[in-house]
Symmetry: C2
Subunit: 427 residues, 2 copies
Amino acid sequence: MLNKEFSVKTPKEIATDLEELGTQEIISYLETSTKTIAQQVFFEFSPHVIVDIFPAITDDLFKKIFTKSDTHKAARVLSRLDRSRVEKRLVVLPRVTSREINDFLSYNENTAGFLMETNLLTGFKEDTVDNILSQLRKLGDRRILTVYVIDDDDKLIGRVPVNYIAIATPEQQLEELMYQAPSVQAMATREEVVNAIQTHALLQIPVVDIHSHLLGIIRNDTVLSASREELSGDLQTLFGAGKEEHALSKASFAVKKRLPWLQINLVTAFLASMVVGFFEDTIAKITILAIFLPVVAGQSGNTGSQALAVTIRGLALKEIRIGQWVRVAKKELLVGLVNGIAVAITTGIVVFFWANSLGIAVVIGISMILSMVIAGLAGAVIPIGLKAIGQDPATSSSIILTTVTDICGFLSFLGLAAALSSALGIV
Amino acid sequence: MLNKEFSVKTPKEIATDLEELGTQEIISYLETSTKTIAQQVFFEFSPHVIVDIFPAITDDLFKKIFTKSDTHKAARVLSRLDRSRVEKRLVVLPRVTSREINDFLSYNENTAGFLMETNLLTGFKEDTVDNILSQLRKLGDRRILTVYVIDDDDKLIGRVPVNYIAIATPEQQLEELMYQAPSVQAMATREEVVNAIQTHALLQIPVVDIHSHLLGIIRNDTVLSASREELSGDLQTLFGAGKEEHALSKASFAVKKRLPWLQINLVTAFLASMVVGFFEDTIAKITILAIFLPVVAGQSGNTGSQALAVTIRGLALKEIRIGQWVRVAKKELLVGLVNGIAVAITTGIVVFFWANSLGIAVVIGISMILSMVIAGLAGAVIPIGLKAIGQDPATSSSIILTTVTDICGFLSFLGLAAALSSALGIV
């Protein structure tokens, strides 16, 4: 993966250049280059490019790219494609390779098992440094950073970083150098993997089955990109687009992922409509109230979203724990109150001149403060509450929040207007 | 940072336990433990805990924690505190330490210079493996993974991972083993650092000044947390909360960061009100239109946000380039159309029975399709457009999008209702 020369392009750079070209040019590049280069470049393509060129790949080219490739990478790429098509293709590969790829494909995309690689170096605790160094030389794989120590039963019992081995004496045994080896289960989620790597400040983490048998390792670059996918996925989940969708996913896939959420949201929207509906008579008398509905709903929605975003991030980065909900709630209540008063003043002034009515200005001001306090509080409490009951805060927070902010916003504004209309001389 | 024993807690775990206790308990723990443990545990505390306990730290304890500490970590922690207070404290430290910490503090928090550490091992290309190994043994720092090769002028010319050195012969010179060393400038942004680490699949990246002099390195765990802060910060920026705010930041800080955005958003909200205002007469005649305003605005807002989230993520993960905007726009247009038709049918049916009017059902259905197509298109084009003119898509996309979706939603719904009211027999 590394170049000996400054002037040579990395496979990643070649891949980026090729992506600018058409499918046919990419295919001929892969067909005419050596097996090693074809493999390295192919696995650097963006997912959507691979989806695009896949139908144009002949069986021969498929064999060239996937035989003796990194089966882990191969599986990651193939998992993005249609499963039945992939299975038809896999039969052209040597049986061992296709079985390995199939094993990976059987893990869920968000688990440690799916992220792991299986090429690693293991040793027993009696092995000497000399012995391990000669194995390292034979393997010649410069990506090996750690030797994992296993017992006779293949159970993981420790680890020795290669840089410890470098400065040890030849006759020392792994047992003397070995450290605790934190590991993750194959079924652990992407999030758990990222947490484990961060907690123990590791470069890579071993993956084990429930009996502690060593299955593979997850490297730091895999963790980095998994962590980026995970966190940025929260953003999409928050709007009901689903973590799995990418910017160049097929439109049909996007519709499948997004439409259910839009339909559920319709229920929310109609609930808000019902609240407005209660005050149909008031609106019929004072039409200008309808004009300011977007202002009230917009500002309480924004206040809630700000509190929600900050709280969800705090939970994702483990800066806050569930037990700290009172502290977060207090902060958001205070922020909602202060911002509410500030926004109420601006809004009140604009509305006073626009509607030429002190009554409506006062009503919108008070309802702004009320609904922004509730929105801030809801933005903090909803995600923490969902986390507490074991739900992903990113998935459903936003829809619950919108329901709360819309209903509170309309109820406080129209309710106050109806109740105070005669007192404040609005009509 | 690592334990020799399985049973001993890591500094991180001790810190997490202590965080449950009060300031006084934390302080006495730090005062009574050894310097090494006090330092290791202190630097594992969450930022807000450090802010809380900082005033209770005596000058003696400050000296204990910060003298001969990792100046890089020290600066990261101190950068979260009030600058003038920190400067008053720094004078109690040995002059070398306080100068080093001050140097770090002078880098912006989002730059490579701020993220780097300065303890690293360098060699000349004539140095032998034997020579380097004895230096490594003397240093005993097991976190050193790479030897950086510099010339007589301190310029970075290559790198040799310690695991290459492990399997080399003692008399080999670094020159024979050395590889290209990708680096970043001290002023490079956090995002550029993450990109460089990902592109070159590195464990750590050297930081250089404009003359290629080696200044320090950034380790993979620093990159991982920087990348997590960066990406999750996008979520907050999108709602105008600012990347710098954390869930337990002070309320006054939160107000300062969020209020300007709320006030700007008020302008947007009043623009939407003006659109509704154009149709005051129509609403006065057909009050039920006001009831369905939240539905139209809500659904086009949601559609836009979904497209926006997917596009911003695609840009952040570098899955799409600016040049691909037509492709993304086409996809979102299609998704908006299909989802629009589906949502229009549901909405139309509900509205037909609710309002008992085929006319209003048809009007809301058509306006739903129109506004959802525009919203999807806007959600894709706005962030890519902002990126193209060199702006951060996360910062202003959302506000522009809301303006577009609110105005289009209200304009299409009320406009169609006004235009078709007699034709469809709405009144």
